[in-house]
Amino acid sequence: MSTQADGSETHGWLGEEFLTWLWFRWETDGGEFPLPGGRVVGIALDDFLSFAAPSDDDTEQTLRRGLPTRTAEARTALRQGHRLRKARLLIAEGSRQWTTTLDAPTLTCTGVRLPEDAEECESEADRTADRTANWYALHEIVQLLYASFLRERLRPDYLQTVGEQHARWMAS
């Protein structure tokens, strides 16, 4: 088993960069993310944000309810270089919509709400099959979004390209 006490051995900070990148892309590109196979998912940040403390001496900041991404506190946290640690996400693909709180350092989804059961479900077995597909789809979407982020993040010129845009957005 991997040691995950502080996330340093498992790149927990990279999960925080990923979640902050989702916010950046949502605000600058409109929240539609192309995935392999011609799929497109919509992502939006909802009513819960928690910023990581940059060090043990700093305060962790949590914003709840309303539109926390629009608050002065959130902008200040970004300007101070804080990464997102947790956020409530709305995820949509076609007619299906999930909500979840993503814990970035572990990429764990908590407080998940699956899409409504498909209308054609007639039995408990049908509902189980439908929900199983939706649970896996949520996992797959998060993994594919993370892979999209990594393709940008691992570019040798990242700091001069996307990283530059990201820094400007955080400072804006």
Binding site: M1, P105, T106
Partner: protein, 225 residues
């Protein structure tokens, strides 16, 4: 049998190595080998962890159809705990101290607890926790519907004892290495260090107030301590 849950928290695990296909008899045998065993009539404080199925909470049967979960295999394990109720112990201790007019010594407290355990535990029912998981055999992926440390540890131990395979919890590094980005990207990922975004006065100004190149210079990387 009710349908699988549609809300809650989920922890993702992966495994390497060969796991019997869920349709194979070896899979059911592995579950049966670590089936749940009741502690309903136990006379001491105990914890019992073992496999059951969504259709049979006793652990007596592992029929393949009871594990069907559509594209995945629906696993369920059960954790029963029997403990002496603390409030009953406190009531008896208070009564003993009141009748004596003084506090009990450590040895007397221990004896009182042992005596109460013998009398009460056979009458105490264990608490029951049923935890579900979805196993996707072809993708070597498992979704556990519990996020507490106790349930996670119990599950990982039970899985290892059943299939002799350790589970790896998903994390940003593991997920990145599974994303099939290529060998160069994998090597870069392992070497990657956090971006130290500009803070406060170091922050790049909006484009009108500061040249683009300066913002790039401000976004420097630091070595992960």
């Amino acid at each position: 049998m009710a349908a699988i849950r549609k809300s809650g928290g989920v922890v993702v695990y992966y495994w390497d190595g060969d796991l019997p296909a869920p349709a194979d008899a070896a899979f059911a045998q592995a579950l049966a080998g670590r089936r749940f065993r009741t502690i309903e009539h136990a006379t001491s404080e105990e914890v019992s962890v073992g496999w059951v199925t969504p259709a049979d909470p006793t652990g007596d049967s592992f029929d393949a159809e009871d594990l069907e979960g559509g594209a995945g295999t629906w696993l369920r394990f059960r954790i029963d705990k029997k403990v002496l109720p603390k409030k009953w112990l406190q009531i008896h201790r208070d009564a003993a101290e009141k009748s004596r007019g003084k506090k009990l010594s450590a040895r007397e407290r221990r004896e009182l607890k042992d005596d109460l355990s013998d009398k009460l535990l056979p009458r105490v029912l264990p608490t029951i926790q049923l935890v579900d998981a979805l196993l996707f055999h072809d993708r070597r992926t498992l979704l556990l519907f519990a996020t507490s440390k106790g349930a996670r540890e119990a599950f990982a131990k039970l899985f290892f004892e059943s299939f002799a395979l350790p589970l790896d919890r998903a994390n940003p590094l593991r997920c990145g290495l599974r994303a099939a980005l290529g060998r160069e990207a994998d090597a870069a990922l392992e070497r990657l260090v956090p971006v130290r975004w500009p803070r406060g006065d170091d922050a790049p100004q909006p484009p009108r107030r500061r040249a683009a190149g300066e913002a790039a210079a401000a976004a420097t990387e630091e070595v992960d301590a």
